[in-house]
Symmetry: C2
Subunit: 146 residues, 2 copies
């Protein structure tokens, strides 16, 4: 069951400049940074608020680290902007299976590693009215509801 907006993924050409923009304009601070080699991105997570399911909502700023990454290709086509949205769930495996049953293409056979040790999968944007949609189960499940 999807219980929160976990993050909004924003593709950018220059992560440091984009982090600086969000800090200078809104006062948002970096909560976490990492390189995800599998996804081919360097990323910064800015925590915006906590959520009623015991999780949080972040902006995820994404800079490609290699030209053949999906984010690099997306940027070349679209320019900087919102790349995907992500819903948080206590059980990404169960939700991905349910959603696949409903006829939506799930892009991974098994969830992969996402930010901060989370487990993630993606839904095909053409099956989601144009929105690349991610499902996330956090590494630290904090809520008793989960």
């Amino acid at each position: 069951m999807l219980t929160r907006i976990d993050h909004i993924g924003i593709a950018c050409h220059d992560l440091d400049a984009t982090v600086a923009f969000y800090r200078a304009t809104y006062g948002f601070e970096v909560f976490h940074t990492e390189v995800n080699e599998e996804q081919g991105v360097r990323e910064a997570m800015l925590k915006i608020n906590d959520t009623s399911d015991g999780g949080s909502t972040y902006l995820q700023l994404l800079e490609p680290v290699r030209e053949d990454s999906t984010v690099a290709k997306w940027l070349a086509k679209n320019g900087e902007g919102v790349h995907h949205i992500a819903f948080g769930t206590g059980d990404v495996d169960a939700d991905a299976a349910d959603i696949r049953e409903r006829g939506v293409r799930v892009l991974y056979d098994e969830p992969r590693r996402g930010s901060m040790g989370s487990r993630i999968t993606f839904l095909h944007p053409k099956d989601c009215h144009g929105v690349l949609t991610e499902l996330v189960t956090s590494a630290a499940v904090e809520s008793p509801e989960h």
Copy 2:
């Protein structure tokens, strides 16, 4: 001060079909619908979670109601997808003034009417690394922090 992700605005060609997709795929229900004549859209708000500042985060599904609306033009260029993101604040006037001081173009001289009686303004996407960014103050300010 921006204290939450208030909503993600998603442009679609057919609001009823898109609402049906979100209900059938994820179980999300419509919290509110309205027509905003000034913005030229028919919209549905799907509440996803409550937030730590006393507000909530929604998906806002937007269908243009006239061909000269900004959302209609955006859809013609981009197809369906994420149109904008919105941050919630207790004082959209003060935040818009601060952000304008920092050199970001604010699109309205004064905030206008948004969903559910909120007051909103937008920041120019070219000044925000490609992200059309909205600031929202809800009509019902529920949190003692505000």
